[in-house]
């Protein structure tokens, strides 16, 4: 895995969110981006996940040296889990199936992958339940299952435990721990909880005022 972010800037109106932000994610592992609220962590993640376009600067993924990556094939190798999961108006199973269906996978393959993903996040017994009846912690796990089922090479997690209870926070941290052990994806996540960052991260990055200020290798 290689993600090279160089000299990214982003403003909303007159407000600069990211200014000359650079970083290299070279080795596989779990990177945790920390910083106070409003420092630009989420914007950085959304730009890295190709959900938003930077004003200037370059992003290069894998061995692709193109400056502006818009290719859908590349987009499908990475996935972002947002702090609030948008749940489709259907069952938990169908929610997880969405990403696989748009990739044109066969039904038996989809079923097998979904069963495994739901089992991984502990939602297997709720597969047939309506997605919008889940608790906020379960909803966040649904968001993670929806991303994991796609087996992304890079998994972005934006404040995955920001608005959920302690029990679900523990479950999500243990899911991240299991993912680390499996080593299938590189994880890049944001949090403002330093203790959590230490618990789950291999590399801690600190962001301040829209810039990458430091790198804290454990």
């Amino acid at each position: 895995m290689r993600l090279h972010v160089s000299h990214i800037t982003k403003s909303y109106g007159n407000k600069a969110i990211l200014s000359d932000c650079s970083c290299v994610f070279g080795k596989p592992g779990t990177y945790v981006l920390m910083g106070p609220n409003g420092c630009g962590k989420s914007t950085f993640l959304r730009i890295c996940a190709l959900l938003e376009q930077q004003d200037s600067g370059e992003i290069a993924y894998f061995d692709d040296s193109s400056a502006l990556v818009k290719d859908i094939t590349l987009k499908r190798r990475i996935t972002l889990v947002l702090p609030r999961t948008g749940v489709f108006n259907t069952t938990v199973f169908q929610n997880v199936a969405y990403g696989l269906r748009i990739r044109g996978l066969d039904r038996p393959v989809i079923k097998k992958k979904i069963d495994a993903a739901l089992d991984f996040v502990g939602l297997a017994p709720k597969a047939g339940q309506h997605g919008r009846t889940l608790s906020s912690g379960e909803t966040q796990r649904l968001g993670i299952a929806r991303a994991l089922v796609l087996e992304p090479e890079v998994l972005f997690l934006d404040e995955p435990t920001a608005s959920i209870d302690e029990e679900n926070t523990c479950i999500i941290e243990s899911i991240i721990g299991s993912l680390k052990k499996e080593g299938r994806s590189t994880i890049i996540m944001t949090t403002h909880d330093r203790d959590q960052a230490k618990r789950v991260g291999d590399v801690l990055l600190v962001m301040k005022n829209g810039r990458m200020e430091g790198l804290d290798l454990q």
Partner: protein, 234 residues
């Protein structure tokens, strides 16, 4: 009072004895309104989706115009369609006036704003997180649009059902452009108007009962669709 009661009795006799004239009228009503609904859906749904999904100059004005057109008086629509289809009108050469096609056009004009406005409303009310979710899961722009339309599906079905209710009950426009010709352009609502004028309440009441039944079915479908779209209690 007696005439109303005897009217109802005769009406049910007509319905249950499968009166040929009555069923011809019902069939034509369904054909005209069904065709108008298909045309209005084919045109109104994409336009409603465009208004709901895209930002472009003049969008707000377009939304205001569509919302205003929802309340179009049928007789005004009938008048305009009449003028366009009449011999000296822009489409007079087609010779459509006083034909079922003219009635379909008039009803389509009435239904398009309803479907457009209600579809726009259904789509614009879809949680913005749905668009982001589909994008983060690797959807192409086209798949993203389909995901949003799919989320709005219950609202869209409600829009179509509401438009059907409106065109089925409409009388002013089709009377002007169709002419209420027996066996050719005579539909339920125009027949009720005509037979009431003539004092022939039996057929008018029979058709009134059927219109009410159709209205009931339409509303029952609408209610079922809305219930299906509701998130169940945890």
């Amino acid at each position: 009072m007696n005439s109303i009661l005897s009217g109802f009795t005769r009406a049910f006799e007509l319905i249950f004895h499968l009166n040929a004239e009555l069923f011809g009228i019902i069939l034509l009503s369904l054909k005209v309104s069904g065709s108008a609904l298909v045309i209005a859906t084919v045109l109104g749904l994409p336009f409603g989706a465009l208004l709901g999904l895209k930002r472009f100059p003049g969008r707000d004005l377009a939304i205001s115009i569509v919302n205003t057109l929802m309340g179009l008086p049928p007789v005004v629509v009938g008048l305009f369609v009449y003028l366009i289809l009449s011999r000296k009108g822009a489409l007079g050469f087609l010779g459509l006036l006083y034909s079922p096609s003219a009635m379909v056009i008039a009803q389509s004009v009435l239904a398009i704003p309803i479907i457009t406005a209600l579809c726009h409303s259904a789509i614009v009310n879809v949680d913005p997180l749905i668009r982001q979710a589909s994008r983060t899961l690797g959807a192409t722009p086209g798949q993203e649009t389909l995901a949003i339309i799919h989320e709005a599906r219950y609202g869209i079905i409600s829009a179509i059902v509401a438009a059907f209710g409106r065109v089925m009950a409409e009388v002013g426009a089709i009377l002007i452009v169709g002419g209420n010709i027996a066996g050719y352009t005579r539909v339920m609502t125009t027949t009720i108007a005509l037979e009431t004028d003539k004092g022939n309440f039996e057929l008018a009441l029979a058709l009134g009962v059927i219109l009410l039944l159709l209205s009931f079915v339409v509303n029952a479908v609408l209610h079922a669709v809305q219930r299906k779209g509701m998130v169940p209690s945890p």
